[in-house]
Assembly symmetry: C2
Homo-oligomer: 365 residues x 2
């Protein structure tokens, strides 16, 4: 029996879609079939997640004309054009048409690559996100950003392609390693810092983060709902203001995603850390930089819960940082553009950060 | 001195863009700079076109911070994910940012792959089309359809990504082989048949097609302008009606592009023919099929000018045809959907064609 605990809606006109949060959602035939309506399905997962949940999703899909199950190797290093090509080989060999639906069952890597495959196959087919990590549930599964990595930069090749629905199943978090739960909590904190409502931050400062950490269901569902709601608002505003998502170069704009964590994550990846911690690290780093300019806040106390800072301190080397920042998407016409926190709920775009300031911030990480 | 003969506008709200038709446009610094405004440029061409025109475009671009010139091998067989990966390798190595502009200088293959690269690089950057074949000028450069091929199907991996501008330079047609000019004329005829205005068809039936064939500038400019105007109208209507371009599976709809030529073209490619003729062949084939159901018209007389029919007859083998149709994008949930001409200017969507009827039409090709 599935239990639906929260339903959100990402408002994007005719591309609006629901985000469901609850228990056993991925095994609910009515819910799954509502959003995977065609006769053909491409189910994409990885070798860690597929043995745990793929059978349940297949059962929930019921009888279909054609179901192709693609199990990717697990790891960010497989989020490449080469893996994408293998997906297309399978999908073409099985003769999927433009009426097919891609279903992403896994963490952020699976969601990003399956979403990008869905964006490109026949110039765009439906897809549904079933995120199975906390990080994917609170962040990457919502918003339609899809991509693969290039050896010289993360998420450099991708598309904006909104899912038809997101099914965040809390039960999948029981099988999640502690480090990945921590990575998700760091993201929850990031959204708390970005959001204008102080309630989010107070919620974090209370005992909730610790209770989430112990994977208690109620606080977790609430944390996911809060983060997704903030993200949904950002995505909806972004699309309505027009131009930015379609033409990212048109003007500076608040984009509170992994901005500052992206470069960090590449360094961390080399050291065998999970990527998510560094998104948190980025959220901590950027305020530090801003504080050097203005004033500090209580955000460090909150961030400490997720141990993001220390991970960053260990992972960070100056030369990597500068090199990676230079190649990242935050560089526009040779100028570095950062989203920094002036205070909780006050994200600002700053594009006059020079290398010295950056190093000053970095040294103290 | 450049000579601007026609300017059209593809009306797509904030993604509207101009189509310029004239002489020496690609060497006009003012025109080129108006639409390639950033400091960084990726100029993509092929080994046939680049030696003829790349220097002139580079000169027109003037001084820029960074210009990366990528020369692809010439031919449809290079319109692949592998070539795309090579483009990204160059662009990443040169550290292009999201403010860069991709410029496609060449025929349909260059435009499709450069456009798709621009669609995916950092989830979408600007691009400008400088089509150098008649087929690309009248068709593929307008409308934002970009793609690469999969070994099992043409244009199976792609995106909708509108250019910022299209510069159709008539002078580039002087270096075009006769067969490619013929391919472009077949496309002009297809648009004439699809358009609701009989004037287009009368224009074709008069001596104009022959004069185009002899590459006279005035009639050519007029033919390009007419075809682009029809195409611009279709693209604008399509986007306004909403949903179709974003969600191609949402409902049947008039899409009078290479629909019926796509399968044919793959057969022809194996036989070493230019792809364009088969778009014309498709335009002729589909009416034949419709005529078996209703009544004929004068379109054959017009199409004969481009010798498309005979090319199709030679290229076509039943088993290939059926196999390719089954894999093509025109199949939705296992049903074959075709755009057929009931009469000039009256395209209809038909989705109850069975295999026998198709073979009956094919046998007479």
């Amino acid at each position: 029996m599935s239990l639906l605990m929260h339903t959100l809606r990402v408002e994007l006109g005719e591309r609006s879609y629901p985000v469901y949060i609850g228990r056993d959602l991925l095994a609910d035939p009515a819910l799954v079939s509502r959003h995977v309506s065609g006769a053909q399905v491409v189910l994409i997962s990885n070798e860690t997640v597929a043995p745990l949940y793929a059978d349940r999703v297949r059962a929930a899909l019921g009888e279909r004309q054609l179901v192709t199950e693609i199990v990717l190797p697990d790891g960010e290093q497989y989020k490449t054009l080469a893996t994408l090509a293998e997906i297309f080989d399978r999908v073409m060999a099985d003769r999927h048409s433009r009426g097919t639906t891609f279903v992403a069952l896994g963490g952020g890597v699976v969601g990003d690559i399956a979403g990008f495959a869905a964006a490109c196959f026949q110039r765009g087919v439906d897809f549904v996100q079933i995120p199975t990590t906390l990080l994917a549930q609170v962040d990457s599964s919502v918003g339609g950003k899809t991509a693969v990595n290039h050896p010289l930069g993360k998420n450099m090749i991708g598309a904006f392609h909104q899912p038809r629905a997101v099914l965040a199943d809390l039960n999948t978090l029981h099988t999640l390693p502690a480090r990945e739960l921590s990575a998700g909590l760091a993201e929850v904190i990031k959204y708390g810092l970005i959001a204008r409502r102080r309630a989010s931050t107070r919620w974090l400062e209370a005992d909730h983060a610790h209770r989430c950490w112990r994977a208690k269901r109620r606080p977790l569902a609430e944390a996911i709902e809060r983060s997704c709601a903030i993200k949904a608002r950002i995505v909806a505003a972004d699309e309505r203001e027009g131009g930015l998502r379609a033409h990212p170069q048109s003007r500076p704009h608040l984009r509170p995603r992994h901005r500052d964590g992206t470069g960090l994550r590449r360094v961390a990846a080399r050291r065998g850390r999970g990527g998510g911690n560094d998104a948190g690290a980025g959220a901590v780093r950027a305020p530090r930089l801003y504080r050097r300019r203005r004033s500090g806040g209580r955000r460090r106390a909150a961030a400490r819960h997720a141990s993001a800072r220390r991970a960053a301190a260990r992972a960070m080397r100056r030369e990597h940082f500068i090199d990676l920042m230079g190649r990242d998407k935050k560089v526009v016409d040779g100028r570095l553009r950062l989203v920094l926190l002036a205070a909780i709920g006050e994200a600002r775009i700053v594009d006059d950060v020079d290398e010295k300031e950056l190093l000053g911030s970095s040294r103290q990480g």
